[in-house]
Amino acid sequence: MSVMTTTQHAAYDTKVEGNIVFTQVDTAINWMRKNSVWPMPMGLACCAIELMGSASSRYDISRFGAEVMRFSPRQADVMIVAGTVTYKMALAVKRIWDQMPEPKWCIAMGACASSGGMYRSYAVLQGIDNLIPVDVYISGCPPRPEAVLEGLMRLQKKIEAEKSATSQFKKS
């Protein structure tokens, strides 16, 4: 590439042409977002072990841009609730969710996080969706890492369809 100086005006450079893509702002933003969702691993029980498995070399969640597990909610985009949400923990999960900056998503991983699972009991919240909005539910007890990746890909599809930028504009 030639170095341009102020005296030498940029003429139209045909070599640049192939490097320019026309798109919509929404699409561009969504593309960036969906390929860099940083999870907040809310590991609460056995499902968390499978979540760790999906981050391991065999399943390698980084193929989908979600390997940056953030233990600080301020840096996270998607909360993966992996495990049994007891009532004792429930408000703490909610509080961490509230500390995550927008835009944020939630994946309920496994039967427990989705519905209380096998714990129809006095101690377990019957689904994290009682407290926070869930985007994707993953079935299984525990779900296999493939299912976690499938859930993540579904979430990516959902992010793709969002009106990320245009929703910010008001119709006059």
Binding site: Y87, K88, L91, R120, Y122, A123, L125
Partner: protein
């Protein structure tokens, strides 16, 4: 002489019953002497390890509670186990054994948390699994499996779990698994 025989000769009528089942010995003892018997087990019989303390709720019979102490000899290599039980009335308190085995501290807190049995002489009798302020004792027989509603602002809340016709319980039977598998039953 086995530990049970030593105890029998030492405490006589305070040992109400001895049950031997597959090399496991259970002694049902008198509530008043229970602490002394446990102390003797630790000091003289070298039961240096308290494996567990648990409690039973025999709702509808008097006395309502049953305390269970599971002892083990670790130090002398025999690995002998001994179970000591005593009955406890509904409004009575149990004697803490924290001064004998330090590990009793948490076991007794769990019994208190789940069953509501209090211990005299416990240095720090707080709930251990549920939060401070939870109004129920959930392992009591008269507490519903689905739970009860409660609310402690900013700490925790509980709700009733939907049982959809349950609770689903298995019934012991020698018939096929079809008969054995969990079904909803009328609990009355």
């Amino acid at each position: 002489m086995s530990s049970a025989n030593t105890l029998a000769s030492q405490f006589g009528s305070a040992i109400i019953e001895q049950i031997d089942f597959r090399d496991e010995t259970t002694l049902i003892v008198d509530q008043e002497s229970a602490k002394e018997i446990l102390r003797f087990c630790r000091d003289e019989l070298k039961f240096d390890y308290l494996v567990d303390i648990s409690s039973l709720d025999n709702l509808g019979t008097e006395p309502r509670w049953e305390m269970v102490y599971e002892l083990c000899q670790l130090g002398n290599g025999t690995n002998e186990h001994l179970r000591i039980k005593y009955a406890l009335g509904e409004n009575e308190k149990a004697d803490s054994v924290c001064d004998l085995w330090a590990t009793a501290n948490w076991h007794e807190r769990e019994v208190y948390d789940m069953m509501g049995i209090e211990f005299t002489g416990h240095p720090d009798l707080r709930r251990i699994l549920m939060w401070e302020g939870f109004p129920f004792f959930p392992l009591r027989k008269d507490f519903p499996l689905a739970g009860r509603e409660s609310e402690m602002p900013d700490v925790a809340f509980t709700d009733r779990a939907p049982l959809e016709g349950g609770p689903f319980v298995t019934s012991p039977t020698s018939a096929s698994t079809v008969h054995r598998e969990p079904r909803s039953r009328d609990m009355k």
